[in-house]
Symmetry: C2
Subunit: 155 residues, 2 copies
Amino acid sequence: MTRSPKADTKGRKLSSFLCFAVYSANLAFGRAYKPILDAFGLTYTQYIAMIALSEADEQTVSALGEKLFLESNTLTPILKKLEQSGYISRTRDPADERQVRVSLTAAGRRLLDKEINASLVEATGLGDEFPIVQKSVVRLRDNLLHHTRGDAKKG
Amino acid sequence: MTRSPKADTKGRKLSSFLCFAVYSANLAFGRAYKPILDAFGLTYTQYIAMIALSEADEQTVSALGEKLFLESNTLTPILKKLEQSGYISRTRDPADERQVRVSLTAAGRRLLDKEINASLVEATGLGDEFPIVQKSVVRLRDNLLHHTRGDAKKG
DNA sequence: TCCGATTAGATCGGATACGATCTATATCCA
DNA sequence: TGGATATAGATCGTATCCGATCTAATCGGA
């Protein structure tokens, strides 16, 4: 890496800017979505958790955490709030009382399918580039995650 | 992943995935950097704040906040901690006592210039694509910010 | 079968984000 | 000049993130 000749200082700055670009893009997403989500009493993280829940019913907290890159310490309070709001259900698995099964309720699914919708895509202003940027960011994230765990599965 | 047949649902999902990709890439940056920053007693946000501070001396909290997309409610506690750590200085501007001027100390600058370095670039694993991804994410962020404030200044 | 190890969530404390509000200082202008 | 207004930070409450730890349930081996 650091393919630049004056690699040192320039490399550090570039790195800083990429990490900062992602950091601030994340803040920007939160702010762009907030007015829309506020109307439904959802926070940004709660909304993301519901998207993950929309992919399957009866997911465990751990399985959900793998999708979200979060653990029970973060998820448990969020899921409890979503349960209180009536958007999800939480029940202990009778077959293994250690596990909690989480699903969207009818109200939660209705919220995702109908009430919150296309306005969120437009906010990105990316047009045709949307899937390209998406792919790059996903790969960036995965590279970082592999680096973290010392896992050298590279492409 | 699990791309749905319906256009409506698909649009929502794509949007979700881009916001989620950024969200999780940000988490991934924090985790990849943590082991490195831990050694210097810095958090990820504190590190980013120091990068912004490295661009100029005697910045006000507001000016710093504009670069970081943060306000005094978030910055003040962070800057106080960095001051306690000895990496920055905070002083009221004699010409306008409302303003606080913030600068890196010698120790802070040394930390950025020498001690923390190229290892942070490698963690991204992006190689030559680094500047391209960076540019896309910056544009995404700016689009979102413009959308938030209803400002339609586009490129 | 019983006890240690493992697993799944939950709890706790520290550090962000952020809306709302507060204080102190500076400015405006009749 | 003096009170209304504006500005810059700071404080507070709520909601994430995350490391460390705890509890309860399950599993494994002698």
